[in-house]
């Protein structure tokens, strides 16, 4: 796809937000959005892992899977790369940046099974992005995911004291809010399309 990496970066945040347009990474988005502080920690971790794994998987795809003619194994290979990278980065952060580990590191195992990470790696292959575009798309998607979870956490924090029908409390009201947020983001879609 012939699109400027910078444009792709902004589009991934706003017009094609991975969570609000593709609804990927919903499990951790719903479960860790009770407090703004922990949402921020998870969001930063997702952003970091998304950016790096997009680059790593691009390299693995073009320099290992394509030359060996095994692109059909991309699903399993991408998952292995993501899982290994998350474990490695967890070990490094825990050892050398303890302060960061206590805010971000404990969320890393959650990210291994976050389908937004896997989704971004697949999108960049389907849409035939180059390396720079993949990094931009990964970083933009990560920031977009962070933005979405922070918005939900902020709204849920304000809703804590409000009277909500019993049947709608928790996941119910969170999904309704997410739907409204997604509608709001449609307003950005006229700017640029990357689907």
């Amino acid at each position: 796809m012939d699109i400027n990496a910078f444009v792709l970066f902004w589009a991934a945040i706003f017009t094609s937000n991975i969570l609000l347009t593709n609804f990927l990474g919903m499990c951790s988005y719903l479960s860790v959005s009770r407090e703004v502080e922990s949402s921020f920690g998870l969001g930063v971790a997702v952003m970091f892992v998304l950016t790096v794994t997009a680059g790593l998987n691009w390299l693995v795809y073009h320099y290992v899977l394509v030359p060996f003619g095994i692109v059909y194994l991309q699903y399993i290979v991408f998952i292995i790369v993501i899982a290994a990278f998350v474990q490695l980065i967890e070990l490094i952060i825990e050892r050398y940046v303890p302060a960061l580990y206590y805010t971000l590191g404990i969320f890393l195992p959650l990210i291994t099974v976050n389908c937004a990470i896997f989704g971004v790696s697949l999108f960049m292959i389907i849409r035939d992005y180059n390396f720079l575009q993949s990094i931009a798309f990964g970083a933009g998607s990560g920031i977009g995911w962070l933005l979405a979870i922070l918005m939900l956490a902020g709204i849920r924090a304000r809703l804590k004291e409000k009277l909500i029908p019993v049947g709608l409390r928790g996941a119910g009201i969170s999904l309704i809010i997410t739907g409204i947020m997604a509608l709001a983001f449609i307003g950005f879609s006229g700017i640029v399309q990357i689907q």
Partner: protein
């Protein structure tokens, strides 16, 4: 075709292998925190290999902190005080700690990693907790779904526990369950028999441990457990006592009554046992026999759904309505409840409404 498949598998294995080797090397070097010190209650130092959880580091040194969930950070049983070290509070601990515990530096031992010297406070009775090996010497079918299982400790071993406490049975892998798990069960035998314990275990469909006990274990099998745990035991006062139990909740109360028979008591005691129908009642004669042992004791089984063929002429319905008429002096009455969380919640509310102070209601919830 086969060669192509083999080539693909080899490539996939190579990628996985390279990543696995990187991880193993990284783990070897990055997770090596050397030998670190755990100071316990300012009295005792133990040296452990750094990098593991506090719970497992203590268990490696035969100090067993209770943990019903096996270290997954969901039960909150492994709380201990940390005065120095241990790093900041983790978001995985916060939901299981009360406001008071947050202020007093209480932490979950399963979540705290020991990477540098750490100073902890744990109750002295924790040191009493050990791992025991035993052999099953008796299995009794009390009802269609409740068994009494007696475990005799290895020769020369003795267990020092208070009537009402519990142990954690360690399952062995069986059938589809390849993992070993620990599950908590109250001791139903008396502390005076310190070379054995008896457990009363109710079958829970799909339950890992209860299925193992009910369908796999037989007399002569060797079984391990850790214990004793818990703060559910009879307080040494002269207050009247209300015991309320349901199902296998009879276990700790049987232990307390057996113990009282040995030491003697003049306290006024009433024991309500809730069950659905007559087929859920067990050890009734034994409990009734205590009425002639103690001067002031009454055993009252209450059936919530007696069947026509039961010919039941005892109390029916739930236990709650009978409590108020039994309580003579609410200010001087203690309650000991054991059973399902729902039963404990409902009975506690009824007791508080009847004037019994909240801190005089002791319970062992089978949640």
């Amino acid at each position: 075709m086969i060669l192509v498949i083999l080539k693909d598998i080899a490539t996939l294995c190579s990628i996985s292998g390279v990543l696995a080797i990187i991880l193993v090397i990284a783990h070897r070097f990055l997770n090596d925190y050397g030998i670190v010190k755990i100071n316990i209650n300012g009295k005792k130092d133990i040296n452990v290999k750094g990098g593991n959880s506090l719970l497992s580091s203590l268990a490696d040194n035969k100090i067993f902190i209770p943990s019903a969930c096996g270290g997954r950070g969901t039960c909150g049983a492994c709380k201990c005080g940390i005065t120095k070290g241990g790093g900041p509070l983790l978001p995985t601990e916060r939901p299981l700690l009360t406001k008071e515990e947050l202020i007093t530096n209480t932490r979950l031992a399963c979540q705290v990693k020991v990477k540098s010297d750490i100073y902890i406070n744990i109750p002295e009775n924790i040191f009493n907790i050990r791992k025991f090996n035993s052999k099953i010497v008796e299995i009794i079918d009390y009802t269609y779904d409740i068994k009494g299982v007696t475990f005799k400790l290895d020769a020369g071993e003795k267990i020092d526990f208070k009537a009402g406490q519990y142990i954690q049975l360690i399952t062995q892998p069986y059938a589809k369950m390849r993992q070993s798990v620990s599950r908590a069960y109250s001791i139903s035998s008396k502390p005076e028999e310190d070379d054995r314990i008896q457990l009363i275990i109710r079958y829970v469909p799909e339950g890992i441990c209860t299925t193992w006990v009910h369908q796999q274990l037989k007399v002569g099998d060797e079984v391990s457990f850790t214990g004793p745990y818990g703060d559910f035991f009879l307080r040494d006062t002269d207050a009247d006592i209300l015991f309320v139990a349901g199902g296998s909740g009879k276990a700790p109360i049987k232990s307390i009554l057996d113990h009282l028979q040995v030491v003697g008591t003049q306290r006024r005691m009433t024991y309500f046992f809730g069950a659905r129908s007559k087929k859920d009642l067990y050890l009734t004669e034994e409990m009734k026999a205590f009425e002639s042992v103690f001067e002031y004791f009454r055993y009252e089984p209450v059936l919530s759904q007696p069947k026509a063929e039961d010919n039941w002429d005892g109390k029916t319905g739930y236990v709650m309505p009978f409590l108020k008429e039994t309580i003579r002096d609410p200010q001087n009455t203690e309650a000991y409840l054991c059973g399902s969380p729902g039963m404990i919640d409902a009975v506690s509310k009824a007791l508080i409404a009847a004037g019994i102070a909240k801190d005089k209601i002791y319970f062992d919830s089978f949640g």
